[in-house]
């Protein structure tokens, strides 16, 4: 479906992409990882037809540069850094919906599901939204249309746990008929979301591996934590994950989204000395 054939890109004398060969099929969820300067953003920009390059990039056999509107009509893109758009939220939604031939209500619906009260911010400038609100809106614009390719650069970085859970559900709903490319500096940020890892270093593919696909995007884990003593900082951290105190701050229960388990463990690890018992069980969806 997506084919990079000997793709190379040079800025002045710096070779940022050096003969990339990749084929990504329908339904694959690819983590594109690598350190700063590895070439992730450049590769994504080549895929979006934004950069000229050597070699070939094709999506369903079409060059994204010469068939812009056809190809980009099927790609939903979430950038890592939200652009500083001065236009009101309502106009961004209408503009994107008009170009993508989708119903603005669909985009608004997804934003609402992610926890963004769109009606309350319709006339507010996009640039004046909080980081999380911007991210939710950009995700809604990307998912609010019939895209068969989703290209996302650290999409969940600014989302709270509840919004992340819904975001994973939204991805799960379209995982069988959509190809996803998720870019990140670190594999552990996205490892539970993907079934293939491509690592770039100095513009070359240094790792291309399938990974265990046991984690369901829509999976939910029921979690129970017992602590030795009540600790306000830990209580606050668990509160952010919507955990409920079962008695005097000593027993906490809640649910964790399957793909978010690693991030959750990371948070819990910071308070590991406090914990006397912890259990995580796959819950029925």
């Amino acid at each position: 479906m997506i084919r990079f054939q000997n793709v190379a890109k040079t800025f002045r004398r710096a070779r940022v992409l050096d003969g990339i060969n990749l084929e990504i099929g329908l339904g694959e969820r690819v983590a594109l990882i690598g350190s700063n300067g590895a070439g992730k953003t450049t590769l994504i920009r080549c895929l979006l037809g934004e950069y000229t390059h050597d070699g070939e990039v094709a999506i369903d056999g079409l060059d994204p540069r010469t068939n812009r509107t056809t190809v980009l009509g099927n790609i939903g893109f979430v950038p890592q850094l939200p652009p500083p758009l001065k236009m009101p939220v309502g106009q961004l939604i209408d503009f994107s919906a008009s170009l993508c031939g989708t119903d603005p209500q669909h985009i608004k619906g997804i934003a609402q599901r992610l926890g963004l009260d769109v009606d309350a911010v319709l006339s507010r400038q996009f640039v004046r939204l909080s980081g999380g609100m911007k991210q939710k809106l950009l995700i809604a614009v990307a998912l609010g249309r019939d895209a068969t390719v989703l290209v996302m650069d650290e999409p969940a970085a600014n989302l709270d746990p509840e919004a992340r859970k819904i975001f994973f559900e939204l991805l799960a709903e379209r995982q069988h008929n959509t190809t996803m490319i998720i870019s990140s500096h670190r594999l552990n940020e996205v490892s539970t979301l993907v079934n293939r890892v491509v690592e770039l270093d100095l513009g070359k593919v240094v790792l291309d591996d399938k990974v265990a696909d046991d984690v369901s995007l829509a999976g939910i884990l029921a979690c129970r934590i017992v602590v030795k003593r009540a600790e306000p900082a830990f209580a606050k951290a668990l509160g952010a994950w919507n955990f409920v105190d079962q008695g005097d701050g000593l027993v906490w229960e809640g649910t964790v989204s399957g793909p978010d388990r690693l991030r959750f463990h990371g948070m819990v690890a910071r308070y590991i000395a406090l914990i006397s018992d912890i259990s995580l069980n796959e819950a029925a969806n």
Binding site: R45, L48, T52, L72, P79, L85, K86, L99, V151
Partner: protein, 275 residues
Amino acid sequence: MNQLWLTAKLDIVESLRARWFQIYTLVFGGIVALLFVFGLTESRVLGFIGLSRLLVTYIQLTMAILPIFVLITTVRSVAGDREAGVFEYLLSLPVSLSAWFWGKIVGRYIVVFAPVFLAMLAAVGWATLRDIEVPWGMFGYYTALLAVMAACFLGIGMLISALARSTDMAQGAAFLVWLVFLLFLDLILLGVMIQGKVSPQVAILVALANPLQVFRTAALALFDPQLIVLGPSAYVILDLFGVAGYKVFALVYPAFLGILSATAGYLLFRRGDLP
């Protein structure tokens, strides 16, 4: 066409909320207001009184301010948007490059021309209310001149934006272009001619190629049809074009230059890296 209008509308909304636009509107609205406050319609210079006197002063001031304002704000916002990641995101949406580029130009043109024209229109409205005679012929030609001037420098601004890869470079180039136009105004050319370094024909050709000089001469021609203040070069210009011919040239040439620059900018934009 729908994509073009969507992009134009987007650029208008973005510009209306930008600080540069507020300052820009304030400057041109302020000029007209100040000219009224200082009673310019009552003063008489070279036989001009009333609104024609005000329009003559307004167009002279506009010619000094508008080119540099249009150049700097255009390159700043276009190159700035590219640097800030606005292009990366908006050009990931299915919009054709021609609709994007020309849509931006259309939107920007409306935003740049509207305050200048509305300020002049407000002056006419005020004059009508106060029973001051409105020189409609002069008003019409000055409007056309301002429209063409905005188009000319917008086109040049878009070309610079397509060429320069950073805001700093774009700003520097825009300033340099303006400075070159300024340096080749007639007084400097006359100085060069006096020194005998350049033949008069070349000097006049350079002057006629300079859009700033073309506008200046055209504005002068309205209240000095024989271009007496230009001295001997007036003979060449009037022999070549005639009074009416020069008025047409002053509209057609800068418009052509603006469209040519914008087209060159579009071709460069389409060929290179977008963000």
